[in-house]
């Protein structure tokens, strides 16, 4: 379990060398998108339209931040539960997205797509929205403004602390619940 300082967008080599359990401090440009923005992005893809972001090496942070107070670039900004984006993630990985940041377990299709395209799934600490917000230095809504907290945002982050949950070789960091220990195994 290593610690890395990495730049975002993420290079293919960087994404592939990461292993479950590695701690990563991300610096650079990432994008926010959650349920509604994902649905919209996929609709645009289906219609053959241009996307409002460059997917190459992109890191997508599943977050719907709280509104920025005066003098702040963004409000509280911790991860939302990732499984709701499971149906979209493999397609985005196939188009160049290198990583997503969220919390909670992913399905088998997503884990397979990490292997197929050399990508990673990062976990950030759920409910640590104030702490994570401090790493966001710039935020700009670049599309779907009408979605409010669900709008697509471009963020500049400095040393955003994330943990590799699923890597590109099938590694998994979340533990399996010990049902045997409670007599249900």
């Amino acid at each position: 379990m290593a610690t890395h300082e990495l730049k975002a967008p993420l290079s293919d080599a960087d994404a592939r060398m990461l292993r479950s359990g590695d701690v990563v401090y991300l610096t650079g440009t990432i994008y926010t998108a959650r349920d509604a923005a994902h649905k919209k992005l996929v609709e645009l893809l289906d219609q053959g339209k241009e996307l409002p972001l460059d997917l190459k090496g992109a890191v997508i942070y599943y977050v719907g931040p709280s509104p920025a107070q005066p003098g702040h670039v963004i409000g509280s900004a911790g991860p939302t539960t990732s499984y709701r984006m499971d149906s979209f993630a493999p397609r985005l990985h196939s188009l160049g997205v290198k990583a997503s940041i969220g919390k909670g377990i992913r399905n088998d299709a997503v884990k397979q797509s990490l292997k197929d395209y050399g990508c990673v799934y990062f976990g950030a600490t759920g409910g640590a929205g104030a702490l994570l917000s401090a790493c966001i230095k710039e935020a700009e809504v670049i599309a779907f403004e009408e979605m409010g907290p669900e709008a697509l945002r471009k963020l500049r982050v400095e040393r955003l602390p994330v943990l590799v949950i699923n890597d590109s070789v099938g590694g998994e960091l979340y533990v399996m619940p010990d049902l045997k220990a409670v007599g249900l195994g």
């Binding site: 939302t80 929205g129 104030a130 619940p177 409670v182």
Partner: protein
């Protein structure tokens, strides 16, 4: 008959929404602050360290504890000798509107199908109760979606009994794994009807972590089931550890001879609630 102006309700609810989202109640705050020392694994320790730091930041800065500042759920006990000068439900919603607007809190209420945001986090979910006296007691919970999504209601067969309840709760927590931001708090409602069990489960979440059930049998069951939940080893953020749940409370009421309703309401560590008496 005592009169309370609706404007007083608006202000109380507004202030509660803002305060709840910045200050974790003392009981949960203590669990988080003490959590690091109780874990062995460095990852579990690091999660507790981050959560403790997050609590300090939310208290010191203008940032809410979590970006999901929740749907506003209110339990309102209205004394039968109180007259509200104005529309009570509208006053509560206006308080929520102001709290979430002026407090820079996230508006998370939307149309179920179009997903269009209502824009002001209303309507609030309000449960009323008429009680003796001339006071109004308002309890507010800012309920995040991630943990709420992991909650379930189950109509068990009466023969399932306590063993059936335990199995359902343990499997629910096990299947939820890292999704509801563990360490979690668990509210369990047993009995009544389908909807009543769910309301009891939510009320159970309003109890403090160190609150002991006045019914000794239920108190023992709460301790037993909390112990079992923590044997699952899910740990903080699902990364493995001793503290999967910080608290487990049961509220129970008689049910139909044919039924055994069970509701499991899951609350994340960002347990935000407030209470006020007017």
């Amino acid at each position: 008959m005592r009169t309370i102006a609706a404007t007083e309700i608006v202000k109380a609810v507004r202030d509660m929404c803002i305060h709840a989202n910045h200050f974790q109640p003392a009981d949960v705050r203590k669990c988080i602050k003490d959590g690091e020392a109780k874990e062995d694994s460095p990852t579990a320790k690091e999660v507790f360290r981050q959560l403790a730091e997050n609590i300090d930041l939310a208290e010191k800065t203008a940032l809410p504890l979590c970006q999901d500042t929740g749907l506003a759920v209110l339990f309102v006990s209205v004394g039968q000798d109180v007259h509200i000068d104005g529309n009570l439900t509208e006053a509560i919603n206006e308080g929520v509107r102001k709290g979430y607007g002026e407090g820079f809190l996230r508006k998370s209420a939307c149309h179920p199908f179009t997903r269009k945001n209502t824009g002001d986090n209303t309507p609030a979910v309000i449960h009323y109760d008429i009680v003796p006296g001339d006071k109004v007691r308002i309890s507010l919970m800012a309920k995040g979606g991630g943990a709420e999504n992991m909650s379930r209601v189950m109509m068990l067969a009466p023969a399932a009994g306590w063993e059936g309840v335990k199995e359902f709760v343990l499997k629910r927590v096990a299947e939820s794994r890292s999704n509801p931001c563990p360490p979690i708090l668990i509210g369990i409602g047993i009995g009544g009807t389908f909807e009543h069990s769910a309301k009891l489960a939510k009320l159970a979440l309003m109890r403090k972590v160190d609150d002991v059930n006045p019914d000794p049998d239920l108190a023992a069951k709460e301790t037993e089931l909390l112990g079992l939940v923590n044997k699952l080893g899910i740990g903080p953020m699902g990364l493995g550890g001793k503290q999967t749940a910080l608290s487990l409370k049961i509220e129970m009421t008689p049910c139909h001879i044919a039924s055994l309703p069970l509701a499991v309401n899951i609350q994340c560590h960002s347990s935000r609630h407030e209470e006020v008496e007017l």
